[in-house]
Amino acid sequence: MSRKKKKTLGPIGTATGLFLLSAFAVACACLAILGVKLSNAPVLQVEPLIPLAVYAVGVPLILLWLKLSGWKGDAGLVGAVFLLCGIGLVIQFRMGSFSQGLAKPAAMLPLPLGLAAFMVGTLLTGKGRGAWLAKAGWMAYLAALGVLGAMLLLGRSFRGGTYLAGNLNPSEIVKPLLVLFLASYLSRHQKAFSETQKGIPVPPLRVLWGLVALWAIPMLMTIALKDLGLMALLNAVLIVMLFAIARSTGYLAIGLAAVAAAGFGVQLISANARTRFDVWLNPFADPTGKGWQILQALAAMYSGGLWGAGLGAGVPQSVPIVTSDFVYAAVAEEIGLVGCALLLMVYATLFSRGLRAAGATKTPFERLLCVGLTASLATQTILNVAGVTKALPMTGITLPLISHGGSSLITTLLIAGMLTGLSDRK
């Protein structure tokens, strides 16, 4: 009897249940944070709570809209996205990112815009509409070049990154654009890239050179922008997509070797990369200078321990730029290793569901698009978390859905929306 009931719950029902649990967790976290704030001063600011209200109202509306449009995709995927999104909001709320309230729209707007982007993504790819996007491959390519070009011409440097006016960092959008292009290009040459000899991929030179030439332009632009993190991420996505289309582990092996070689080469050329490499090898060589940020991050984690200091009860402000690249250190301090394990599990589930959805799509293009978008999120997460824990050198990449940063959140939710749409097979 009960089993039957479970079956009738349906994807939307499950997603709603998961969202309610997530919202409950977020509410507990909020209360804890408010409790710590209140124990210091009897003041309650309402405006910083607005993004949380937007979350509490906006997500159910999206779920309702999905229900009405007859969506039958992967509930775990949607649940993971909104749980992570909620945790991100609560951490940003705790770090005071919304403390200026409506006076600083740059902090308040990303969430509603992101939720809208999520719907746009779902609309674009849902119900098999994704196949149509293959025609937009070249447009996406040119748009990506345009964005990178604009940043080269108009951007100004700030803390090692490049930003447009209003601290806008549109390079985030380059990721889905180039994934779209790659999916369309690679799926058109699927046969060529699938050719292997004894496990070693041997695509015809004409097609290979075409890809190399097309790929070199954005890569050179990212080098000119000194955005090595973006470059690393895009290349990782390319490798995963090549692997996905050829289904030959040869691409993975070649790719890993290429990444290691490129990483080593880059630190020989770029002084900035070299510093990051040295800090990674031995942060204690210059603990108060170059090693300061990563060591403070590790100290924050240590003081969090297994169960964490409790939300609002830690002192993660001691880590420089903790709200964006190093947000994971704040998370680790306040929710502990146990909380981090749960969070990483949710990320892993999200990627796993993305790839399952890819396997279930109808056309090679959609499959590649789905794999590429998932790989982009996965690589970003792995590079960020590994960087903050000193498992790998820092790459200056944000943590999807949790780091502070408008364009990052909007783009990630757009990608999440596209995955949500792709997981729905008519």
């Binding site: 997603a15 649940g79 100290a299 321990g305 959805a357 396997g359």
Partner: protein, 524 residues
């Protein structure tokens, strides 16, 4: 309303409320996460479901999490990291700043190092320079060294002892317990006495228990003030910060003959050799090896007639180079090399294994011999041969402990371990009798204290660029030895003259304290 809430939160229940919220949050987060993990998924595709990629992504995240745990949970095991947090952690109630560092105690519970109330970096060392080398220093600028360093997790209260509740305490609250005391095997009185006896000369003293490996004194001279190591670190002429007892490498001279004698007895080698006054030439092109008497006679304008045909006992008593050079050649390369391995000459000796790592001596040096004649020079403790005072003390202790070479140890809590078997019980017994005679009627006469039955061997090691290094290594009493004393005086000249009086005074002191005639407390 808000103020009433604030008062509530600041009252006794406040922390409990917040803790409850934290637990509920983690619990709900766990339920939600597992809900997401087990939520029904789309039907797998016909082409593929990318199992490899899914494992790759999840595996990478898991690997990062494990690495994260090495900082988040086990960060205290990294002394550099703990040091960083002590100095730069801005968290006001950070545990690593509050813990009162535990004291270092000697075997009787006397204080060797104690904390200073109200000063995180404060430390009090009652013995001062006398024990600065084994204990090390704990300094905000110059860092943490020696015992202070490898026992740091325990002293700082970060060590997790899996056997007691500290593990649970640590995991659940992340508040470190009080810093714990560490009890060393040293005896503060012997340490002080040995340091005084060296009287500022460059040298080292090792006093140990032969059957348990417990170090009663580990002295290096000149000493330095552990509260102000700066000067000692910069002094490159006298290198007072250098621990000569474990890091100093010296040719062992005639003390090395103990190993050759053990080899000869154990292998049943021919034990009678002619020892002509002119010396012994091992092979074409090698200079003759002579006894010291040859030069003594030469200075008087006389000619040394030699010892004639003598056995192992007389040769050891007279410390005859001519004899041992021949014995070395007779032993053959394999037996010689085996002996070097058994005596652990080439290895660093671990003399402290603690929560934060190990303390090791320097390696000794002895070439792997391939020609029998090259053993001639090595057999008399010269040539390409270097040992630390700790190495010499350890092989002396092995003879005292019936051939069992015990790992030296500095901490009472360390288990007693056998490093290797130098020789069998019978050999050790015979060798002790020979070494007894070397004291009663030989070069070590000066140390023959009545009633103690001291056995020992002097050593005078030639070293380039100055006077000889003076050695004396001994144990007592002969039948069931309870104490080993090894003394090295750099550039001290004749072993019996410079090193022996130090050993004699130390043995007297040790006897007064009950270490010689009363049996060793713990034996395996």
């Amino acid at each position: 309303m808000l103020e009433r809430l604030m008062n509530l939160l600041n009252s006794d229940v406040g922390p409990d409320l917040l803790r409850a919220l934290k637990i509920v949050f983690l619990a709900v987060l766990a339920v939600a996460s597992f809900g997401i993990l087990y939520a029904p998924t789309v039907k797998p595709g016909k082409v593929t479901s990318y199992g490899l990629l899914r494992i790759l992504f999840a595996g990478a995240l898991f690997a990062v999490l494990v690495y994260q745990a090495t900082w988040q949970i086990w960060g205290y095991t990294n002394p550099d990291f703990v040091k960083f947090m002590r100095r730069y952690n801005r968290r006001p109630d950070a545990a690593e700043k509050q813990v009162m560092r535990g004291p270092l105690l000697d075997r009787r519970g006397m204080v060797l190092a104690a904390p200073v109330v109200g000063d995180v970096w404060g430390r009090r060392y009652p013995l001062g320079a006398a024990a600065a080398h084994p204990l090390g220093y704990y300094h905000s600028t110059y860092g943490i060294t020696a015992v202070e360093r490898v026992c740091d997790p325990t002293l700082s209260g970060y060590a997790i002892d899996k056997r007691d509740e500290a593990l649970g305490k640590m995991l659940f609250t992340q508040r470190a317990a009080e810093g714990e005391a560490v009890t060393l095997t040293l005896d503060q009185r012997l340490q002080q006495k040995a340091y005084e006896l060296l009287a500022g000369r460059k040298g080292a003293v090792v006093v140990m228990r032969p059957r348990s490996g417990a170090l009663l004194a580990l002295v290096s001279s000149p000493g330095f003030d552990p509260l102000n190591p700066a000067e000692a670190i910069r002094d490159e002429e006298n290198t007072p910060a250098f621990n000569r007892a474990v890091q100093g490498r010296y040719p062992p001279g005639s003390t090395f003959k103990i190993l050759l004698a053990a080899l000869a007895i154990e292998k049943g080698l021919p034990q009678v050799y002619a020892c002509p006054g002119q010396g012994y030439v091992a092979g074409p092109g090698t200079p003759p090896i002579r006894d010291s008497e040859y030069y003594a006679y030469q200075r008087k304008g006389a000619v040394w007639p030699g010892w004639g045909r003598i056995g192992l006992k007389d040769a050891t008593v007279h410390s005859s180079n001519v004899y041992f050079a021949q014995l070395g050649v007779a032993s053959g390369t394999k037996a010689f090399n085996d002996m070097m391995t058994k005596a652990r000459i080439r290895e660093p000796l671990t003399y402290l294994r603690a929560s934060g790592g190990e303390l090791k001596s320097a390696r000794g040096h002895v070439p792997e011999v391939t020609k029998a004649r090259s053993t001639a020079l090595l057999a008399i403790g010269q040539g390409e041969l270097l040992t630390t005072p700790l190495h010499v003390a350890c092989f002396t202790a092995a003879v005292a402990a019936d051939g069992r070479m015990m790992r030296p140890r500095l901490c009472q809590a360390e288990p007693i371990e056998e490093m290797s078997r130098l020789c069998n019980v019978k050999t050790a017994e015979q060798l002790r009798a020979i070494l007894r005679e070397a004291v009663s009627r030989g070069t070590g006469k000066g140390v023959d204290l009545p009633g103690l039955n001291v056995c020992g061997k002097t050593g005078t090691a030639q070293a380039p660029g100055g006077e000889d290094h003076a050695w004396f290594t001994c144990f007592a009493p002969q039948r069931k030895p309870n104490i080993v004393v090894t003394v090295l005086v750099e550039r001290g000249g004749f072993g019996a003259k410079a090193a022996l009086p130090v050993a004699r005074a130390l043995l007297q002191e040790a006897d007064r304290l009950g270490y010689v005639r009363i049996a060793e407390e713990a034996t395996p």
